[in-house]
Symmetry: C2
Subunit: 604 residues, 2 copies
Amino acid sequence: MIGRELSVKELAKEQITPVEGLSALSLDALTSVAYGPEAILVVLATAGVGALRLILPITIGIVVLLALLVTSYRQVIDAYPKGGGAYAVSRENFGPRTGQVAAAALIVDYTLTVAVSIAAGVGSLTSAFPSLIPETVPICLGILGVITLLNLRGLGDGARAFLLPTFMFIVGLFAVIVVGLVHPLGLHEAQPGKPILGPPGLSTIGILLVLKAFSAGCSALTGVEAIANGVPLFKEPRVVRAKRTELLLGVILGAMLLGLAELSNRFHVEPRTTQTVLSQIMGYAVGRHLAYYVVSLTITVVLALAANTSFGGLPVLTSLLARDRYLPRLFAVRDDRLVFGNGIWALTVLSGVLLVVVKGNTNALIPMFAIGVFTGFTLAQGGLVLHWWRLRPTSWRRRATLNGVGSVVTGVATLVFIFSKFTEGAWVVVVAVPLLIVLFRRIEAYYVASDEQSGVGVVPSVPEGKDTLVVVPVTRVSRLTSQVLSEALSLSSEVIAVTVVFDGGDEGGHETVEADWERWHPGVRLNVVHTDHASVVRPIVAFVDDLIAKSNDQIVVLIPVVVPERLRYRILHNQTDLALAAALRRRPGLVVARVPMSIDARNR
Amino acid sequence: MIGRELSVKELAKEQITPVEGLSALSLDALTSVAYGPEAILVVLATAGVGALRLILPITIGIVVLLALLVTSYRQVIDAYPKGGGAYAVSRENFGPRTGQVAAAALIVDYTLTVAVSIAAGVGSLTSAFPSLIPETVPICLGILGVITLLNLRGLGDGARAFLLPTFMFIVGLFAVIVVGLVHPLGLHEAQPGKPILGPPGLSTIGILLVLKAFSAGCSALTGVEAIANGVPLFKEPRVVRAKRTELLLGVILGAMLLGLAELSNRFHVEPRTTQTVLSQIMGYAVGRHLAYYVVSLTITVVLALAANTSFGGLPVLTSLLARDRYLPRLFAVRDDRLVFGNGIWALTVLSGVLLVVVKGNTNALIPMFAIGVFTGFTLAQGGLVLHWWRLRPTSWRRRATLNGVGSVVTGVATLVFIFSKFTEGAWVVVVAVPLLIVLFRRIEAYYVASDEQSGVGVVPSVPEGKDTLVVVPVTRVSRLTSQVLSEALSLSSEVIAVTVVFDGGDEGGHETVEADWERWHPGVRLNVVHTDHASVVRPIVAFVDDLIAKSNDQIVVLIPVVVPERLRYRILHNQTDLALAAALRRRPGLVVARVPMSIDARNR
């Protein structure tokens, strides 16, 4: 399933151009047009049909914020040409504590990106093919499964393979917008009619609702930071190309958002449960014909690819956190395919649970979504203000001011999100982030204590051997017994064989072991332990414990295990060896080895 | 759940009287009145209402067969005062092959007894309380679970505890029959009316149907062999008491069957899906009042106890088969509570599956039921004929003739069952028994081959030690490293430490191990293995394989494992040790030990 083991040398180091950068790093941001405008309309709809017209001014506000963010992140690229994720930037400038906040926010963000992208992609699919609506959750999980598998195989980041769908998506969506603005083809579709009332004034619908709609729409801005994280992937001159990509992303995303908002107004689109807003707009613009279906499927594909980008991000983040000892070490271990498999699985499980809980409904995820991202925005730009202030390059004041404004605006926006959407889902993030931070700190504290206990860093005493006593549990005399005693005698001249005799009576046969031993005379003492309990494990453990208490020697227990050639014959052999090994496992200083004795006893 | 470990001495050896013998050994047979008459009616009903009157002559035929079996089994008790199960008798007289047939038939029989008894018991319950009908399967599984648990605790055979319900059952059922025959109290219940037509002649309904009804009714005879198996449980004089019990059983069972058949005729009872025949008879006899409910619940309890008797039988049988090497050895291993736990679990799983498959419907199980039992009857009595012929005691001809007739009659009955009920379920038994026999033979063949391979029975060569080389994989220098090297040096003066350096580059940190080692100077050589693959397991395995190929020494690998005090911290340590131990496991002659290093690194 996963493919053969890979060597480091086999990993091609791809170097990307700005256009490729759009498909490799910006799909998350670009595809947010599939749910951002809808998120605004869902909030506005609570104030009546007339309020829907406010989508245009709100979108203009969001595009202004986008411009600020793009400018600000172009400066991040200048400052961190080696890639400046929110975690690295805030850790460097504010110290580890703030870094942990950024890391926790990012984990939440990556998880939500996967869930939201997949849910929105399936939403696009079921809008086009309503008969699939009952299968929403299975389809979501199927897409998640495919993405997981590709990433476990290490095929998750094929920037070039993503080029065609990205290109189709951008061209297709602009085509829809242009056709819709100039001469809609789909106006013979059933029309919803136009509202009789004009839009209500701001005072009527309330500033809080506008703020909520604005913050919901900000979900369209998630992902604009990804290019700044991925600077090292670009061809030289990296910084120039990365900044160009960031600008390109800002222009395309802004244009799409404004175009869709205007069309939504013109076509009087209302949010529906069975069809996405984007699908409705497309239907009115070009009609539900071939072009509509092609673009719908393209949207599904690019949203799945957008989910895939989180799989490039989170496992790397968790490996960094594991190396900083905030997460279990196993997140820093690479699989045979050189991917961080444990991080991939963690992301799959978390986002899969989210998708199942909200039943694949994008709008249920939106209230949680922007908080993590905007926390990252705030911390990264705040950190950059400190960065400029410390280094003071030319025009540092202008740069610091820009990032400062960005930080304050996104910080305020974060607070607005939390308070305006708290009961609708934002509380999940408010609970999850501190929990993650507590987890980081406890894990770090454990590792510190563990290192101290294991004496890491101090030069330990020089190791010294002592006498060794080998204990071998036996059940009968056979060639295998001789074999394991030979191994025991290799370890030490002091070997004791031990056998358990059940005094229950009716099984019998054990007295023959002693007789056979006499006849064999292997030069090793046989200790017979009598018991009237059924377990043979306990008497042996008691015997070994007794030896440990009495002796200063290094004690070794060699447990012979018959290993048949074919696995299915294992059940035919006693499993006592496993029980015995488990019972002896936790005695410090005791060496326990199960010694495999291969036999090839096929039915001939 | 299971209780503390038991010593052999704590097992009281109960010695029972004939009356106690009824509750300890005969419940299976006695309780078959709950489904036997119904099984006859279900078959007859296919020939129309008039045919139901044939229940009386058919029951008389069954009671004649019962008399034959009881007489015959009283002779078995004479011949095998140490307990003569069908397996032991046919193995002794016909040899192991026929013994295997008997054993396979018995396994099928025990499993079906559990399933049928529980299903019939729940049928009695749901007849009294029809609102429980939808919960039939869960109630069946619940009762099965309780029986399993009691048997795992070793409390399955409390003959004295079973006395009261057995007594209530016998008295209650006779009371119902007597009241029903003399002066029914329940005749104000809704009456089904009487048939206008008289019973059809035999020629009309066909001899085949009568045979089918007869064979279905023979399910009432299952269990009459149990007393002969349990002779050693009786007080002295054992044989006399056991024979008296067998006779008692025959009289009680015969009287009940005849009484119920007569009442069934008088009340014109027809089989129904929601109420058992026995429940209908009781309703007409005493009315659905207190007495009816008390007896119904008693029937449920004694049927559960009847299922329980199989739990006394099958695990002992499988332990005998395991000792004869026809089943995996683990069936011969006693648990801490001195019960054969694996046999108990096997019976629970098999009968649980049966109950779920037939959805707790007794009548669906009946076609499979009598075949196994009657195969046992045939083989045991056939074996006895040989037994008498060989020993020739006084009046051996009369005895041999009686057993011979018994064997032939039950043999013919077995063939009738198989052919008349083949498509209705008998095929399951016809398939299962040969499969079990094949399984027995393959397992035996494996054990013979395995013993030969392990050199059991030949006096092996005297064990001799050779030089030992200890390999210790290390990741860094710490007190734990020193500790494991001390243990290694105890085993041999030749110790090699080995560490893996990942040439992937970005992780770094490994070069410090070499430097630390230099500074430490532990007197043990450190081997650095470079790799550009992610796995650290493979390079170490390759290193060890290389040593095995080059050296004649005994090679030991000591893998250090950090074991935190609290289990939940385990996830924070690398699991590489497990992977490494697993990868090295199957190399013959190699000794691999994971050495636990306890640390107590709590967050303080």
